[in-house]
């Protein structure tokens, strides 16, 4: 209840300040955008190593370099040497597949630690390590229309997800909502925007202010317990002739149990993206004015940049419950 009220107040303040800012912009009568030149700084000569791996597919690593900001091509490095280790034991050298990708035939396993050593004659060698947490199953996933409305009068769909935390470690989670509406099984987060967030575990992280499109949190507040996550979302609906009611488009939920590296990466990325100086902010004067200072992206690559992190995941269709 408390968090819900916070959220409404936050929305309210945001709306009001927006009015003020809009008025300032009205006074400006017209704003003007023009291109400005800038001197390109030096480019650090270090490797960028990335891999987010899970047990369902062979481990892959991408090796690239840092590029000038106006270089929009992917700067993959195809001729690096990438060694893969499991619990400190050498497994294999990964094979270059082009565009900086290196594949292995090894499926990483839960509760195992993996590391890579990447070297290239023109760059300092890099090292990274992470593990895959144990898979956590979704117990229940339900949704309801309970008559809640957003201030824009959109009907809110309440989604409830239940799972049980494992007690033996500090665990981190990420939840994503997926629509399989359409021909392909695809994530369409845009279709289902999360409107209300009441969950203390999520709010505790302080990331919700930065509008992430997935939800991530630690088990600090529910260690070893059943976790019930309630989310209010908005999204497209369709008419169900049998029940003579509206229903949401088919919806699935992904629950990822993630390594600490993955979790930290998501937190940093959310803030990093929110504060990037891009044209995204121009659409909203409020954002423009209250943009935070940019923040460097997290990295766990020793001697380089990028993220090497493991995760595990479970997927379940969300059951929609019609009103009686």
């Amino acid at each position: 209840m408390l968090s819900g009220a916070f959220f409404h107040i936050y929305t309210l303040i945001t709306m009001h300040i927006k009015l003020v800012v809009l008025l300032v912009f009205i006074i400006a009568l017209e704003s003007c955008v023009k291109e400005v030149s800038f001197e390109q700084g030096s480019v650090p000569q270090v490797l960028v190593v990335n891999s987010l791996f899970n047990p369902t597919e062979p481990l892959r690593v991408n090796v690239a370099k840092i590029a000038p900001i106006d270089d929009t091509l992917h700067n993959g490095i195809p001729d690096a040497n990438v060694g893969l280790y499991e619990d400190g034991v050498f497994l294999a050298n990964l094979i270059s597949c082009g565009n900086g990708w290196y594949n292995s035939s090894n499926f990483p396993k839960a509760n195992k630690s993996y590391s890579v050593v990447v070297s290239h004659p023109d760059y300092p060698a890099t090292f990274a390590e992470s593990a895959i947490p144990q898979k956590v199953k979704i117990v229940n996933a339900n949704s309801y229309f309970r008559g809640k409305l957003s201030p824009d009068q959109d009907e809110l769909l309440e989604v409830t997800i239940e799972f049980t935390d494992t007690e033996n470690a500090d665990n981190y989670y990420e939840v994503a909502l997926i629509s399989n509406y359409g021909t392909e099984y695809s994530y369409v987060v845009e279709y289902f925007s999360i409107f209300n967030m009441y969950d203390p575990s999520v709010l505790k992280e302080g990331d919700w202010d930065y509008r992430p499109n997935t939800i991530f949190f630690s088990d600090a507040l529910f260690k070893g317990q059943l976790k019930v996550l309630n989310i209010d979302i908005t999204g497209p609906t369709r008419w169900n002739q049998y029940y003579n009611q509206w229903e949401p488009n088919p919806l699935n939920v992904i629950l990822r149990s993630v390594s600490k590296e993955y979790f930290t990466m998501r937190k940093f990325w959310t803030r990093h993206l929110f504060n990037q100086t891009t044209s995204e902010h121009l659409a909203d004067p409020l954002e423009l004015l209250f943009l935070g200072e940019p923040i460097e992206m997290y990295t766990n690559i020793v001697g380089g940049y990028g993220v090497f992190a493991g995760y595990n995941e479970d997927i379940k269709a969300v059951t929609f419950n019609f009103n009686d």
């Binding site: 819900g4 936050y10 023009k34 400005v36 650090p44 840092i66 504060n275 902010h281």
Partner: protein, 786 residues
């Protein structure tokens, strides 16, 4: 607290020898305007035989000691007024009240005195009431804070704001005193205008450094604003109608020359446009807008020859409002109605009692309230007959209750002593986490604790301006303060202040100062635009009081010429401690996180620079050239990897050029041109990609990571702008009317407000763009004084 009392007693004891000088007789009294009888603050009273003198205090009072039988020759002068002389042989204490006559406005227009008005100070900018209106107008409005922005050492922050950044300090480090009472948020409309209505002001002083011991509570500047007290002459009214605002003021005597009043009302006209605009834009369903108003009122009454009481009142509010009446598409929902208001602003009320205890001792007792409030109401109804309702309230603010006692004591011609003490009771309501509300639609009810934080601040000071010789003047003082926040630790401080002046000859002087300051409130602000959501936070154990030390060295040269040129050069070095800042990546958004989790504390700042001011203060053509070279850095352990970085308003070069030309009594032109180095900004110049997130390709296949080379590593393009204003004045049968026509940004310079990257659709390349605000903006206002 005990410590503080002990310190104060020590100072008083130390001061006793000065108080016991065998002083003889005094000439004392008030210096006022001959027509309005308003006190002239900072008028010079010089004993021409000895070459020594004093300045009138905030109530126009002066006192000069003499020995019995001395022959007295006094010269009373003030910028813009004709000098008046008095001579006599002193046999008793004698009260001489002088009324100065306004000088010829063409030949003797003396504008802003940096040091010329008060020779015994440095780092001081003073604008007397008679000259405020002569300052260049911006959008038809003269604003005192915007005039200060044109002085060296005073930065302007972001475009369109009236905030001032003095010698590298933050916008919260300025102590704004209205009749001696602090105000918190002094900006309107996101900072475009300040709350200080020029019609209601008797005079303004800005101290950039060398702070006298009587001031404390902020690190970087003191802006001392005195309201008009109301003329004792005849009743005068003033009406102004402009594009941005309109105002009306009236003043006059109530009973003979014993009591008078002043009342001023100002309102913003922006809502007149936005109401119409929003109705047209929404087919009549929505009306919204913004306005503000300021109410100033003063009343004073002479109780006896030695006592006078003053009442001052200020109340101002900014208001954003919206009204929505909308038929919902879904027929079951009926009509949707929304009523919402956001209001914020200051309130101030004070009672002051002056008493001439003896010719050499002047006292002033102040009892005051000052508050800043931010209130929001939001009410919506929808459904059949408004069956669903949603109502939310939000409040935050600060309330200060102050009592203080000040004394001016002139025991001899060599000592001018000021001392006093004050107690301030603060009630903070940080507000971000406070709420009350009812959500009936979902049968939710929620209310929050207000969690007020209370603090008590006590301070005492003593300062003595000592004339060591005809050429050397010293002002030594100390300000002590004690601050106790409820349930937490207390803070004590001893802040020494020192100023020395050496007159090499009649035209050259050298000055130096040292000042330590403390600040017991922090401001968390991302925008720098003085928006209402800027958060004032009391000092606490986690966020200890901010501290500063500043040393300055100055040189003044009165250039021999008809135009009365004066050159001032000052160099300063300032350090600041216990600064706070938002953590990297943190935004204002979100009541979901405690503000303390967003704050990086224990930061330090280092600022140094050189200021140059060349003024022409007399003649048809007046004005000044101001230039500042400065470096301004911050250091936080948790920001920029613990490496020092430039402050967001660090500007290496800051140049202002101000000219005013009086063709005759009916026509005046003024213009300002400003140039400054671009502000620093954190901008990525490299990037890399994180690929393969494990999601299908249509959901964020890659993260485009920006790679930064440090905080504020990039400079925006330089800022420059030309404003002009034309005043057409005419004497009418019953008064004087003035048309003020002006243009802001005459050559429509596109100054950078925000830099961002975007893909150019023409060639698909990423390019850097700038967003600019405020192009060529004309304005007009009409003023009638009767």
């Amino acid at each position: 607290m005990t410590k503080m009392i002990r310190w104060f007693v020590t100072f008083c004891l130390a001061a006793l020898p000065m108080l016991t000088f065998c002083q003889k007789l005094s000439v004392y009294g008030y210096v006022r305007d001959s027509l309005t009888k308003e006190p002239l603050i900072g008028a010079n009273v010089v004993n021409t035989k000895k070459g020594t003198g004093v300045s009138t205090n905030s109530y126009g009072y002066y006192s000069i000691p003499f020995s019995e039988g001395d022959s007295v020759a006094l010269a009373f002068s003030f910028v813009g007024y004709n000098q008046s002389n008095y001579s006599s042989v002193i046999k008793n204490n004698i009260q001489i009240n002088i009324s100065l006559i306004v000088g010829n406005t063409i030949d003797e227009v003396q504008i802003v005195g940096n040091q010329s008005v008060d020779k015994n100070r440095m780092s001081l900018v003073q604008i007397p009431a008679s000259k405020i209106k002569l300052m260049p107008a911006i959008l038809g409005e003269v604003d005192a804070l915007r005039v200060f922005q044109l002085m060296p050492g005073v930065g302007s922050g972001k475009e369109g704001t009236s905030s001032i950044y003095v010698r590298g300090g933050g916008s919260d480090q300025n102590l704004f005193l209205l009749d001696g009472v602090p105000l918190y948020n002094v900006s309107h409309i996101g900072g475009f205008l300040s709350v200080f209505d020029t019609e209601a002001i008797n005079g303004v002083k800005l101290y950039k450094g060398g702070f006298p011991a009587r001031f404390g509570g902020r690190l970087s500047s003191v802006v001392d604003i005195r309201m008009k007290q109301g003329g004792m002459g005849k009743t005068n009214s003033n009406l102004t109608i402009g594009t941005l605002s309109s105002r009306f003021s009236i003043e006059g005597p109530i009973k003979g020359d014993t009591s008078s009043y002043f009342l001023s009302l100002r309102r913003c006209n922006v809502d007149l446009f936005t109401r119409a605009f929003s109705l047209l834009d929404s087919d009549g369903t929505t009306m919204g807008g913004y306005t503000f108003y300021d109410i100033y009122g003063t009343f004073n009454r002479k109780l006896s020859e030695k006592g006078r009481v003053y009442f001052s009142l200020y109340f101002g509010r900014d208001i954003v409002f919206a009204r929505v009446n909308q038929e919902l598409q879904n027929s079951t929902q009926g009509q949707f109605k929304l009523r919402t208001n956001i209001k914020w602003g200051n309130a101030m009320a004070s009672v002051r009692y002056n008493r001439i205890v003896s010719p050499t001792l002047f006292s002033n007792l102040t009892i005051a309230y000052s508050g800043y409030a931010y209130n929001t109401t939001f009410k919506s109804t929808w459904g059949d007959r408004g069956s669903n309702t949603s109502e939310l309230l939000f409040k935050s603010g600060i309330n200060d209750f102050t009592s203080k006692l000040d004394f001016d004591y002139n025991p001899s011609s060599k000592h001018k002593v000021k001392f006093g003490a004050a107690g301030i009771f603060h009630i903070f309501n940080p507000g971000v986490a406070d709420y009350s509300g009812v959500l009936s639609q979902s049968s939710n009810q929620a209310s929050g604790d207000t969690q007020n934080q209370k603090a008590f601040e006590a301070n005492a000071y003593i300062e003595d301006e000592i004339s060591i010789s005809r050429t050397i003047t010293l002002n030594a003082g100390v300000h002590t303060s004690s601050y106790l926040i409820s349930g937490q630790s207390s803070f004590q401080s001893l802040q020494p202040r020192l100023f020395a002046s050496f007159a090499v000859n009649q035209r050259n002087s050298i000055k130096a100062s040292y000042a330590e300051m403390r600040q017991f409130v922090h401001l968390l602000s991302l925008s720098g635009a003085s928006l209402p959501a800027d958060l004032w936070i009391p000092a606490s154990a986690d966020l200890p009081p901010e501290k500063s030390k500043q040393v300055a060295l100055g040189y003044t040269y009165n250039i021999p010429s008809k135009g009365n040129y004066e050159l001032n050069i000052e160099a300063f070095y300032k350090t600041m401690n216990n600064l706070i800042e938002y953590k990297e990546g943190t935004t204002f958004f979100g009541g979901n996180q405690n503000f303390k989790e967003k704050v990086e504390s224990n930061g330090t700042g280092e600022v140094y620079g050189i200021e140059l001011l060349l003024e022409k203060t007399k003649g048809k053509l007046t004005g000044w050239i101001g230039y500042t070279w400065s470096k301004n850095n911050r250091l936080f352990q948790g920001i920029n990897k613990g490496v020092s970085f430039p402050f967001k308003y660090d500007k290496r070069h800051d140049f202002s050029f101000v000219l005013m030309y009086n063709f005759n009594n009916n026509f005046r032109v003024s213009g300002t041109w400003v140039y400054s180095t671009g502000s620093p900004i954190t901008l990525a110049q490299n990037h890399y990609t994180i690929s393969g997130l494990g999601y299908p390709d249509n959901y964020q296949p890659n993260y485009d990571v920006h790679f930064y080379n440090g905080r504020n590593n990039f400079r925006m393009p330089a800022y420059h702008r030309l404003d002009v204003s034309f005043d057409f004045q005419k004497m009418l049968n019953k008064g004087v009317r003035t048309w003020k026509v002006g243009v802001y940004n005459l050559y429509s310079r596109q100054n950078p407000f925000f830099l961002f990257y975007n893909i150019d659709k023409k060639d698909s390349k990423l390019k850097l763009y700038q967003l600019s605000l405020f192009p060529f903006l004309p304005s007009i206002s009409y003023n009638y004084c009767f």
